[in-house]
C-alpha cells in the first residue's frame, strides 16, 4: 500500500494542469494556497487550530468520529487511523470529513450539478445532500482530495471559500425569485451581488462567528426566511414623488435560531438598492469591531444587537457607513441585474394537459407552482431528507437540459426546483422524474420533513434526526393522500441537537435532540417544539414543550394530529390551536403514548432510530448508597422539569413575570439537584445553591458541555444575577429557552458523571458521606 499522498498524486496533478486555464485567477490562488497549507501541515509547520480554521474557510468541515473514537453500544473504541497527524484540535487527519459547497441563492446550472455528481462519486459516498441553506454537502471526504475537488468546482464557477468558519456563509434567497407571483421584484441579482462583494472581502475576515445573509422577494411567504438570519433583506418598492417606482429593501439584523432564538430587529424599513452593499459592509465592519471574539457562544451578531439595542446598533452602523470611502462596486452591479432575467428553453404552454393520471394530478397539487409568467410552472423535486444519488443527479441534469435553460435552484427545504417548465411539457417532466424516482408528491407539506445530519455524520448530534425524519416520513406518507389539507400543510423539522440546523423553531412541529436518564438507562429523546411559523419569512418561533423519547415520537405525532383535527375550530391554524389548547393539556393528552417502557419490557426504546447500537447504558453495579444519592439528583432535575413546564404555561397565558420567576426557579432546582450528588444537605437559599454549584460544577468545568463549553452554565449565572428584574415578553421568552437548555445541560451533566461513576464512585461516596467537596 502506498503512503497516502493524494495532493501530489497523478489524479490531482491531472486536474491541476487540465483546469488551470479555466479557473478565476483569484480562486486558483486560494486553492493553490490551501494545497500548500496541506503540505505544510503534513510537515508539522502549521498549528492544528490554525489549520482547522483554514480548512473551514474552504468549506472542509469535521465529521462524527473524527476524534478517532466510536462508541459501539458497549464501549468507546479507538479507530486506529494510520497516522497521528491532526487536521484540527482533536481531529484526526485520516478521519473523513464533510465538504460544503456554496450555491449562492441556490442557483445551479446543469453543468454544475453534473460536476458535483462526479465529485460525489469519486471522492464522497455517491450522495449529494441539499442543506437548509441551499448548499450541497458531500460526506466522507478525505482532506487531501479537497484541492482537486475545489479545482473541478471552480472550473464550473463554484467556490467553497467561506462555506464554513467565521465568515459570511452562503447568501440565500427565495428559490422562486423572479417567477414568484407575489414578490416586489426579483432579488436574485442582488443576492449574487452581496455574495460577490463580500466573498474574501477584508472587512469580513475578522468575525467572532459566522454571518448568514438571506434575501426575500416578499414579507409574507417563507421562502427567504429573512427573520431567522443575521442579516435579512426583503424586497420593497416605493413610489417616488415623480411617480417612478424605486427598489429597495427592508433591512433586519440580529435574527437567529441556534440554542436560543432571537427575533430579527428592524434596522430600516427601506434601504435603497444602491445603498444595500455599502450598508451591509458597514454592518459587517461594526460586527467585526464590536462583536464578541472570545466567548464563542456569545459571538453571533444577534447578541451584539440585543446587548446594544437596535437604536444604538443602528447609530453605530450609520456612523461607520458615513466613514466608508466610496466603492464603485456598490452600484456597478445594478447594471448587471438584467443578466439574471431567465429565459425559457421551450415556448409557453396553454394550460396543463388533461390526463387520467390521478397520481399526476395529486403531484400537481403539491409540487407545481404557476409562475407569474403565463404558461410556465416551477416544479419542486422533493428529495427525501435532501439526498439525491449521483445517477439521479445526472438524470436530473438531462431533464434540465431537455426542458430548461439552466434554471434549477436548491431550496431551504432541502429540495430542488425546476423553473420555467412549459405547461405543455409538465406531464412529460413528471414522467421523466417518475422514471428516476423523483416524482414524489408532498413538497412543502407534512411529509417533506427537514432534517439536519444529526448523529449520522455531525459531531454535535445528540439524537438521530435523519432516523426520526425517515420514520415519520414513511409513516405519514402512507396516509398523506387522505389527510385533511390543514394537516397536510403542516411542517415538521428535526435537528439532532439544540443548534437548530434543522430549523425546528419555525416548524409547526419541531424536534431537537436531547438525552434523558430513564431508570438508570440513557434514552434518546427529542424536545418537542410546537407552534413555530414558517410563513412570514420564519415569522414566529415555537416553544419547547417537553422531552419525548425518540421511539415514542411517531405515536405522539399521530396523536397530536388527531387532537388538532378533532379540536380545531373551522379554519383554525395549528399555532392558534396550540395556543388555545395550551401545552399542558397537549402534553397530558399525549402522555400515554409518550411513556417509555421499562428496559426489560421493550429494549427498542433504548436504541435510537437508524441505529443498532444501544444508545448508551449506564455502568452497572452502582452501590445502594450511590443509587440514593443519584435519585436525589434526579429528583431535583424532575422538579426543574416541572417548574419550567409551569413557566411555559404562565408565559402562554401572557404572565411573563411569573414565567420568568418560575424559569429561574427551575434552573435553581436543577443546580441544587446536581449539588446533591455531593452535599445532600444543600440549602434552598438561591445564593448558597449558586455558590456551591459554581464551586463544584462551574469552576471544575464539570458542567461544561463537551461542545458548547460554559454556554449553558452562563445562562444560570446570568439569570441569577438578573433575578427579580422586570422582563418584557421577548426577554422572558429568552429566559425560558435558556432555562430549558440549562436543565437539559444539567441532565447531560448528570449522565456524564454517572457514566464515569464507576471510576470515581468511591470518591463521590466518600465526599457525600462527609459532605466534603469532590
Amino acid at each position: 500500500m502506498k503512503d497516502l499522498d493524494l495532493v501530489s498524486s497523478h489524479a490531482a496533478a491531472h486536474w491541476k494542469t487540465a483546469l488551470s486555464d479555466r479557473l478565476d485567477p483569484k480562486w486558483r490562488e486560494d486553492i493553490d494556497k490551501f494545497e500548500l497549507d496541506i503540505l505544510l501541515k503534513k510537515k508539522g509547520k502549521v498549528e492544528d487550530r490554525v489549520f482547522a480554521e483554514t480548512r473551514l474557510r474552504m468549506g472542509a468541515y469535521g465529521q462524527r468520529y473524527d476524534n478517532g473514537h466510536r462508541h459501539d453500544g458497549n464501549e468507546s473504541r479507538v479507530i486506529p487511523f494510520p497516522t497521528d497527524l491532526n487536521k484540527g484540535p482533536e481531529t484526526k487527519w485520516d478521519a473523513p470529513g464533510m465538504e460544503r459547497i456554496k450555491l449562492p441563492w441556490g442557483g445551479m446550472s446543469a453543468e454544475q450539478l453534473e460536476v458535483m455528481a462526479q465529485l460525489a462519486e469519486e471522492y464522497s459516498d455517491g450522495i449529494l445532500h441539499v442543506t437548509t441553506r441551499q448548499d450541497i454537502q458531500l460526506h466522507y471526504i478525505h482532506i487531501e482530495n479537497c484541492p482537486s475537488m475545489f479545482r473541478r468546482l471552480a472550473a464550473v464557477n463554484i467556490t467553497t471559500r467561506e462555506a464554513c468558519g467565521n465568515s459570511v456563509r452562503n447568501v440565500t434567497a427565495c428559490p422562486i425569485a423572479g417567477v414568484c407571483r407575489e414578490e416586489a421584484f426579483d432579488v436574485t441579482g442582488y443576492a449574487n451581488a452581496v455574495f460577490k462583494y463580500l466573498l474574501g472581502h477584508p472587512d469580513v475576515q475578522d468575525f467572532g462567528r459566522k454571518f448568514k445573509i438571506a434575501l426575500s422577494g416578499c414579507k409574507h411567504n417563507p421562502c427567504g426566511l429573512t427573520n431567522i438570519h443575521d442579516l435579512g433583506l426583503t424586497a420593497v418598492v416605493r413610489t417616488q414623488a415623480d411617480g417612478t417606482v424605486k427598489r429597495g429593501f427592508e433591512y433586519v439584523v440580529g435574527g437567529g435560531l441556534g440554542a436560543v432564538t432571537y427575533d430579527a430587529k428592524l434596522f430600516s424599513d427601506y434601504v435603497p438598492e444602491e445603498e444595500v452593499l455599502a450598508l451591509t459592509q458597514a454592518t459587517c465592519r461594526v460586527y467585526a469591531r464590536l462583536g464578541e471574539k472570545k466567548k464563542r457562544h456569545r459571538a453571533r451578531i444577534k447578541f451584539l444587537v440585543a446587548d446594544m439595542g437596535i437604536d444604538k446598533f443602528r447609530e453605530e452602523v450609520l456612523a461607520e457607513r458615513a466613514k466608508l470611502p466610496n466603492d464603485p462596486r456598490w452600484t456597478e452591479f445594478l447594471a448587471t441585474l438584467p443578466k439574471f432575467e431567465e429565459k425559457p428553453l421551450r415556448p409557453a404552454g396553454k394550460g396543463i394537459p388533461k390526463t387520467n393520471d390521478a397520481a399526476f394530478d395529486f403531484w400537481c397539487l403539491t409540487n407545481v407552482y404557476p409562475q407569474k409568467q403565463d404558461g410556465f410552472l416551477t416544479v419542486t423535486v422533493t428529495l427525501p431528507m435532501g439526498d439525491i444519488t449521483c445517477n439521479q443527479a445526472r438524470a436530473l441534469v438531462d431533464i434540465s437540459r431537455k426542458y430548461l435553460k439552466d434554471t434549477m435552484r436548491t431550496t431551504v427545504e432541502q429540495n430542488i426546483v425546476l423553473r420555467w417548465v412549459s405547461e405543455a411539457d409538465l406531464y412529460n417532466v413528471y414522467n421523466d422524474l417518475k422514471a428516476i424516482d423523483l416524482a414524489q408528491p408532498g413538497a412543502a407539506s407534512i411529509v417533506d420533513i427537514t432534517a439536519c445530519p444529526g448523529t449520522d455524520t455531525c459531531k454535535l448530534g445528540v439524537s438521530s434526526s435523519r432516523g426520526l425524519a425517515a420514520e415519520l416520513r414513511t409513516r405519514l406518507a402512507t396516509k398523506f393522500v387522505q389527510m385533511d389539507e390543514a394537516v397536510r400543510n403542516l411542517r415538521i423539522k428535526v435537528s439532532g441537537c439544540f443548534n437548530s440546523c434543522g430549523q425546528q423553531h419555525i416548524a409547526d412541529i419541531g424536534f431537537f435532540g436531547i438525552s434523558r436518564n430513564v431508570a438508570g438507562y440513557i434514552v434518546p429523546h427529542f424536545q418537542m417544539v410546537l407552534g413555530g411559523e414558517f410563513i412570514n419569512n420564519g415569522g414566529r418561533y415555537g416553544l419547547a414543550t417537553g422531552g419525548i423519547a425518540s421511539k415514542a415520537i411517531p405515536g405522539v405525532v399521530d396523536k397530536l394530529l388527531d387532537l388538532y383535527m378533532t379540536g380545531k375550530t373551522k379554519g383554525e391554524g395549528f399555532r392558534h390551536w396550540v395556543e388555545r389548547t395550551g401545552k399542558a393539556a397537549i402534553m397530558q393528552a399525549v402522555a400515554d403514548v409518550a411513556a417509555v417502557p421499562a428496559y426489560d419490557k421493550d429494549k427498542s426504546y433504548y436504541t435510537d432510530w437508524g441505529s443498532v447500537r444501544e444508545y448508551n447504558v449506564k455502568d452497572k453495579g452502582m452501590g445502594e448508597c450511590a443509587g440514593e444519592v443519584v435519585s436525589l439528583t434526579e429528583f431535583g432535575l424532575k422538579a426543574a422539569d416541572r417548574e419550567v413546564f409551569e413557566a411555559q404555561i404562565k408565559f402562554d397565558a401572557g404572565d411573563w413575570k411569573s414565567a420568568s420567576k418560575l424559569a429561574y426557579q427551575a434552573m435553581l432546582f436543577a443546580a441544587q439537584g446536581l449539588v446533591k450528588m455531593y452535599n445532600i444537605d444543600i440549602s434552598d437559599d438561591a445564593d448558597k445553591v449558586m455558590a456551591e454549584w459554581k464551586e463544584r460544577f462551574y469552576d471544575t468545568q464539570k458542567f461544561f458541555d463537551p461542545f458548547a463549553g460554559p454556554r449553558f452554565a452562563q445562562f444560570y449565572i446570568h439569570a441569577h444575577d438578573e433575578r427579580g428584574a422586570e422582563l418584557d415578553k421577548e426577554k422572558a421568552s429568552r429566559l425560558l429557552q435558556e432555562s430549558m437548555l440549562f436543565i437539559e445541560a444539567a441532565h447531560s451533566c448528570n449522565l456524564r458523571l454517572s457514566m464515569g461513576a464507576e471510576k470515581g464512585k468511591e470518591g463521590i461516596l466518600a465526599a457525600t458521606k462527609s459532605g466534603s467537596k469532590a
Partner: protein, 189 residues
Amino acid sequence: MDLQYLNWKVYLDNPAEAEPDEWFKVWNDWIPDAPEIFIDVADYKHVQDGPVILLVGHYVNYSLDAGGRELGLLYDYKHPLEGSNEDKIKSGLLGTLRVAKRLEDEAGFKHKPKFNAGSLRFIVNSRAIAPNSAETLEAVKPELAKVLSKAFGADGFTLEHLSDPRQRFTVQVTAKGNPSLADLIQRLA
C-alpha cells in the same frame, strides 16, 4: 497507466430478498475488532439508484449498492495501491469476492444474500486516471483479461465496455459458466 481507485461490483442473485436493515446491522457488527479500519455504516435506503447501505472504511468502502438499478455488493478501494496494474486488479477482485463470501456465510442474516459470481462490474473511480474511452479500454484490457482468465479460464468470460462518456470507466464481465465465489477465490488466491 497507473490504475488506482478500483471498484468491483458483484451482483445479487436474489435481490428481491435483500433486507437493507439486516445489512445495516451486520455491517455495524463487523466494525468492532475488524482487521480493516471501519468508521461507520450509512443508511441510504430512502434514495434510489445508488448506495443503499454503506460500510465506510478508511481504505475501502463496502456497499449494498443499487446503482444502475441492479442490487449488488460494491467494493470501492479508495487509497493508492502499489504494484502492477495486474496486481491491483487482482487484489480488488479478490477482496470483493472474499467480502461477498463472508456475507453469504454471515449468520446475522435472516435473508441470506446469494451472489452471482458470474456477473461482475469493473469500475475505475477516477476520471483523471481513466476517462471512459476506447483508449482506456485498450490500455486496461490486457491486464484485466489476464486476471479474469485466471478466475474464469481464458475463454470463460466476455467483456463489455459500457462507454457512456459521462460515466466512469466501466466494464461488464460476464462468465460463460456458472462459477461459485469459492471457486473464484481459490483460483485467484
